[in-house]
């Protein structure tokens, strides 16, 4: 029943995002962090878990907005309206990488590098395609992608040991990225 009692910060972030989309926000977030994934599929939840941890650390800041997204299309909808965006997602890369390895890439005008450009979703677009489409439509702000290589994304599975072990350092890295982007957009 947890889904029915939405935490206050989640609700506020959602309202802020809706307002930002409608263009009626007084002070748009300078940095928006978008955690992606499916909470019911093992390591695919890592993006959601990381941004929830980040939200607790940054709860007093009003220039950082933390959102959650389940599909690439949701990401497309919230890429606009911030000075800089950090997208956090699970990575199932064809490149040989150990489970739990961290990946950081900056999106160019054409989106993410080829390795991450095609991601996976049952419908529509994956996160990689959403970023590329935003780029093609001229809607892509400064965007950094942070991810961890997954071990398993089986339905109903838990977070793998490798990803769980990597999580504290990953959240630290995410927080550093936020502070670095805030400094960058302020200058």
């Amino acid at each position: 029943m947890s889904a029915r009692t939405e935490p206050r910060e989640v609700r506020l972030a959602r309202i802020a995002a809706t307002k930002a989309l409608k263009g009626d926000t007084a002070t748009p977030a300078r940095v928006r962090v978008i955690g992606c994934g499916n909470g019911d599929r093992g390591d695919d939840a890592l993006g959601l878990i990381a941004v929830r941890a980040l939200r607790r650390r940054l709860r007093d800041r009003n220039d950082v907005e933390v959102l959650e997204a389940a599909t690439g299309l949701q990401v497309l909808d919230v890429l606009e309206g911030a000075s800089a965006v950090i997208v956090v997602d699970a990575v199932h890369s064809p490149c040989a990488r150990p489970s739990g390895a961290a990946i950081r890439v900056e999106a160019g005008p054409g989106g993410l590098p080829a390795e991450l450009a095609t991601s996976v979703s049952t419908h529509g677009l994956g996160v990689g395609e959403a970023i590329a489409l935003a780029g093609a439509l001229g809607r892509l702000p400064r965007t950094v992608f942070l991810g961890l290589q997954v071990t398993s994304v089986a339905p109903g599975g838990l977070l793998s040991i490798q990803v769980a072990d990597a999580m504290p350092a990953f959240v630290d890295a995410l927080e550093r990225e936020v502070r670095s982007l805030l400094a960058e957009v302020a200058s």
Binding site: M1, R41, A70, D77, A90, S121, H123, G124, L137, V153
Partner: protein, 440 residues
């Protein structure tokens, strides 16, 4: 890897998916002397996992669990589940709930149909590899499509509390109903959408769509008073008529060796059938709204029409139905005095069918006296269309065997994607491997 080769009479075409998170989806095609000797479509089905996951849960958890089956049509799963459980418990929701559910579900149709038309179908028919490569050339159309899709998302979020996994629908009604002013704020956007959907109709009618005439039996809900979504009789274009209670007698799900998915056929004839927007438009032509009639005229869609590639026009027509209906219902909306009925569980069984964007979605629940789910059965539209997709491929492929492998794979994906199946995205990056097969 993908590469072009000249056509040879004997070939083996495998279109396996690349490493995917969401499971298996692949097409295997084997040709000897210009004849198809093997054609198998494999699609992974997440709902099967959820059936087991629901057993032992309390009924009140079901509306929170089933929308997680799909990020594009969560409302469909909620609505079939909620109606089935209300039937099992003999619950009648308060006045106004029917209308509010209808707006919520129609908003999902807008979102899902506009996604498919603009990001999946249009690149196919215009010859682009993807929506991303199409964006530079069709920016205005794409922006318009995304704006319409956003309208559906926002309306879903307004009523459902959240757009991806709505939280307000419960067994008995809604945990909370939106204020009148909150919904009325959407009327100007719906008015604008009425104009925009005509532009979408004009745009899609300019596509060069290959004709694919073949007989087919289309199945969907029919309702005497309205364009059906949450309730109705099941009818087919060949004169069948039955209720949700009879679904498991009329439809047989068969295990096939090559796939972990079940294939649905009519139990009496063993024949596959076709569900989705084109079925609904055919069966409910008399309920098209004024804007939808205009869209049908512009897209040259008429009834009866069973050509599968007319499905895109049917999606545009249904988006117009949804826009007109949402505007009508919101104009008349006042929040229900009680947003939900008091629900007392009892032992029993409930079976219900609603119209998901992709076609009829069947849910059946057996419930214990304390409200615990004993068993669940979910038959999604993609599963029902699987056998028909294979049939279409068998009929379509011989006409395009002169194409090189890359083109052939693209055309096969187009046939599959036209059904808007749960692998619609995955087929965008199916990889083609060609293996020469020696003559026997």
């Amino acid at each position: 890897m993908t590469h072009k080769v000249a056509w040879t009479p004997n070939r083996l075409v495998e279109i396996p998916s690349i490493a995917r998170v969401e499971g298996e989806g692949a097409l295997h095609l084997r040709v000897h002397d210009g004849e198809i000797v093997d054609l198998r479509l494999e699609i992974y089905e997440p709902p099967r996992f959820f059936e087991a996951f629901l057993e032992g849960r309390h009924f009140s958890e079901v509306p929170d669990i089933v929308p997680r089956i799909c990020g594009i049509c969560p409302v469909a799963y909620q609505m079939s589940a909620i109606h089935a459980l209300e039937q099992a418990f003999g619950v009648t929701p308060p006045d106004g709930v029917h209308e509010l559910r209808r707006i919520l579900y129609l908003a999902e149709w807008i979102e899902s149909h506009m996604l498919h038309v603009h990001l999946l179908a249009a690149p196919d028919f215009l010859g682009y590899e993807s929506a991303v490569t199409m964006a530079a050339h069709e920016r205005e159309a794409l922006e318009r499509g995304l704006k319409l899709k956003r309208l559906g998302n926002d309306l879903m979020a307004e009523i459902g509390g959240r757009e991806i996994h709505p939280v307000s629908p419960v067994v008995g009604g809604f945990s909370k109903a939106p204020r009148r002013a909150a919904l009325q704020a959407y009327l100007p956007r719906l008015e604008e959408a009425r104009e925009e959907i005509l532009r979408v109709a004009d745009w899609t009618s300019s596509f060069d769509i290959p004709p694919f005439p073949r007989p087919a039996e289309l199945v969907g809900l029919w309702h005497p008073d309205e364009y059906p979504i949450n309730e109705g009789l099941v009818r087919s274009t060949e004169g069948r008529e039955f209720t949700a209670d009879a679904f498991e007698n009329v439809v047989e799900e068969q295990h096939v060796q090559h796939s972990n998915a079940l294939h649905a056929v009519f139990a009496d004839t063993g024949m596959p059938y076709f569900v989705g927007p084109l079925a609904r438009v055919n069966l409910n032509w008399e309920h098209l709204t004024p804007t939808a009639v205009d869209v049908a005229r512009r897209t040259r869609l008429s009834s009866p029409e069973v050509d599968p590639f007319a499905s895109m026009a049917a999606r545009v027509v249904e988006t117009a139905v949804a826009i007109d209906e949402c505007a009508r219902l919101i104009e008349a909306y006042t929040p229900p005095r009680e947003p939900h009925a008091h629900v007392v569980p009892r032992a029993g069984r409930g079976m219900w069918i609603t119209e998901a964007p992709r076609g009829i979605l069947y849910h059946r629940y057996d419930v214990a006296a304390d409200g615990t789910i004993l068993s669940a059965r979910i038959v999604p539209p993609t599963s029902q269309n699987l056998r028909h997709m294979e049939r279409d491929l068998r009929l379509f492929v011989p006409g395009v065997l002169d194409r090189d492998d890359e083109d052939l794979a693209r055309l096969c994906e187009m046939v599959v994607r036209n059904y808007d199946p749960c692998i619609s995205c995955a087929t965008h990056f199916l990889r083609l491997e060609r293996v020469e097969v020696e003559r026997p």
